[in-house]
Symmetry: C2
Subunit: 352 residues, 2 copies
DNA sequence: CGACCTATTGATCGGACTCAAGGTTGGTGG
DNA sequence: CCACCAACCTTGAGTCCGATCAATAGGTCG
């Protein structure tokens, strides 16, 4: 059940409004002034806040300003309630980050509509889009379902790519966001002849190619299918209108990008100071975490030695020698190009 | 002179409004329907758009939707003009990314106020916050000047840090955004005893420590003063309210973070496949680009060999040998801990 | 001026790269 | 269905870059 925090100094209005909301099966927390409201918000983490503007002690603007100070409360949908439907008020409220506006007097329908549409919008974004790329994907998937743009997704071009086929090239100008419907894809940067460094690996359900769209610059990497794949090309315009259409979407992106930076920095220090042996262990664990879906059984993957070497950032031969060592130490099993991880725990200890 | 695009189908209203704006010394481009308006927007790149909602051919919502499709036009401030001050309209408009709302009939003052406040807000952000950290800094500086939060900046704590003093530690929880008023600072990740990798270098006027704030996680790196420094500690709440307060700020951040990722990826491939010699050349160029202010004279910097080695990601001795080579090749001059770059061109060729 | 830190040079060692060759695997066409 | 080819995997030997250890020289700060 959703919790709504209602901040309103007029007792009649407050109780009336609360009643309407409660009849619609919301859990309502009431506060009779701004200061109390802020405290309740911090304590209860409501799903939505409805707040009067003119109040003693601390007015509505003050409330939103204080709540914006912490990321936790800043992302709670915020609806202003005001007696005078004056434009100036409204403008100030919107600038400070309110999501909606209801002017008194209002009827039940109007109130509930605003509340519901706001909650629904936020729902999409709630599913913690932080950790990793998966977050982004979930976000896109969900967004597509509800967004008005969904009609566009139906016109999406689906293209087939053969194993080893190039999807986009370093230096090209980005025109699409890519969605991997089926298969596996790698993105890499080329150095000299034959030397690549794989910057990312994608699996079914992943989106890729968005960093260059965000930078509005040519691709700095090349994408290639690791196996036969089906890929949807989503016009960049759709991506942009989705991106720039909502503050919450942007928040998710900022978080995701920061995480990405942290990852790369970790990778940097490993490349600088860790031995190939450690880095190979790391790469195997990365593969497992990315491609393993039933965590119960032991994980195996078919990957070319060259690709694996390019993840680690070493020569193919060096990689193979390390893998052979791992085999002797009974950490992995090898059958052709297929690698099975037997002892993930030992591998994890090894990489540190 | 600022250019304003006015999209309005009613001839009287349009010409009247245009006249008001022209009297206020704006350059006004007129369009009499949505379709034409979009074309004009793409062609003229106006500084602001005022647009009616109800229009034949293509209505105001259609206009904003189309403009949002391209980053160039998406960032132009957008003001809706509407006859009916209905909440539903307004709500829809705001959701689609309009920045403000003016309802007809309006008087001169109201119109001009809205226009000016919007232009001013955008001004702050216009200065291309892309390329590098400098962008961020400029942004913060400008933002501080105009933002209502400026009063808070006066209560900021200024702290003195001695050379080699730690500012924050890996694993600590972030509570501040740091502003380097004077001195030099490095951030680095530690690996084993004595092995560090410098992830960033800051100079006077730079902000740092924001990635961990964005991630809302403990620091993944340590910050240390390279020389005696003066640093302002800005409470994280202030940072958050600034961040989450505006869509444009967030856009700048997204761009900046994407650029940062691209940088790190470049660094990654260098660490993986380039020789120490190349990487040293690269590091010297980095130092020059970061710390050189009068580009005419040859650039010199005083930096410990250990720190330089930690930028490159190599052992101190290896770095020194390479530096000695460079000295013999007349690329640099060395006096104690002071390094002067003599031939930057050759260095640049070398690093590739 | 002495203690301590930093820079430099030398010698040695080892990890990882390169080149080379032989073994496997899988796919294709006869 | 088999033979053959190409691509890939694996192992070996040699080499070199860069790390490490050690010792000395140069600077700096109290």
């Amino acid at each position: 059940m959703k919790t709504i925090l209602l901040i309103e100094d007029n007792k009649d209005v407050r109780e009336n409004t609360a009643e309407i909301l409660e009849l619609a099966h919301y859990n309502v927390v009431q506060a009779e002034n701004g200061k109390q409201g802020v405290e309740e918000a911090q304590q209860h983490k409501p799903d939505l806040i409805i707040c009067d503007i003119m109040m003693p002690v601390l007015d509505g603007y003050g409330v939103i300003h204080l709540l914006n100070k912490s990321p936790e409360t800043a992302s709670i949908p915020f609806i202003f309630l005001t007696a005078k439907s004056e434009r100036l008020d409204f403008r100030k409220g919107m600038e400070m980050g309110a999501d909606d506006y209801i002017s008194k007097p209002f009827d039940d329908i109007e109130l509930l509509n605003a509340v519901e549409s706001r909650l629904k919008k936020n729902e999409i974004l709630k599913a913690e889009f932080s950790k990793d790329v998966n977050g982004l994907n979930k976000f896109f998937n969900d967004a597509r379902k509800t967004d008005e743009l969904k009609k566009l997704s139906e016109e999406r071009r689906i293209k087939q790519f053969k194993k080893k086929e190039t999807i986009f090239n370093e230096g090209n100008n980005p025109n699409f966001l890519y969605f991997l419907a089926k298969g596996k894809v790698k993105t890499f940067k080329a150095h000299e002849y034959g030397k690549e460094l794989i910057t990312d690996l994608y699996k079914e359900g992943d989106f890729f190619g968005y960093t260059s769209l965000l930078e509005e610059k040519p691709y700095t990497e090349t994408a290639e299918a690791l196996e036969d794949s089906e890929i949807c090309l989503i016009p960049k315009d759709d991506f942009y209108s989705l991106m720039y259409g909502s503050m919450n979407v942007m928040k998710s992106f900022i978080k995701m990008l920061s995480d990405n930076i942290a990852d790369k920095e970790k990778q940097l220090i490993n490349l600088a100071y860790s031995s190939v042996r450690k880095r190979v262990a790391d790469a195997l664990i990365l593969l497992q975490s990315r491609y393993d879906n039933n965590k119960d059984k032991s994980f195996s993957i078919s990957i070319s030695r060259e690709d694996l070497a390019n993840i680690v950032g070493t020569a193919t031969e060096s990689l193979i020698r390390t893998l052979s060592d791992f085999k002797e130490e009974k950490l992995v099993e090898i059958k052709g190009s297929n690698i099975t991880i037997i002892n993930i725990e030992k591998l994890k200890k090894l990489r540190a």
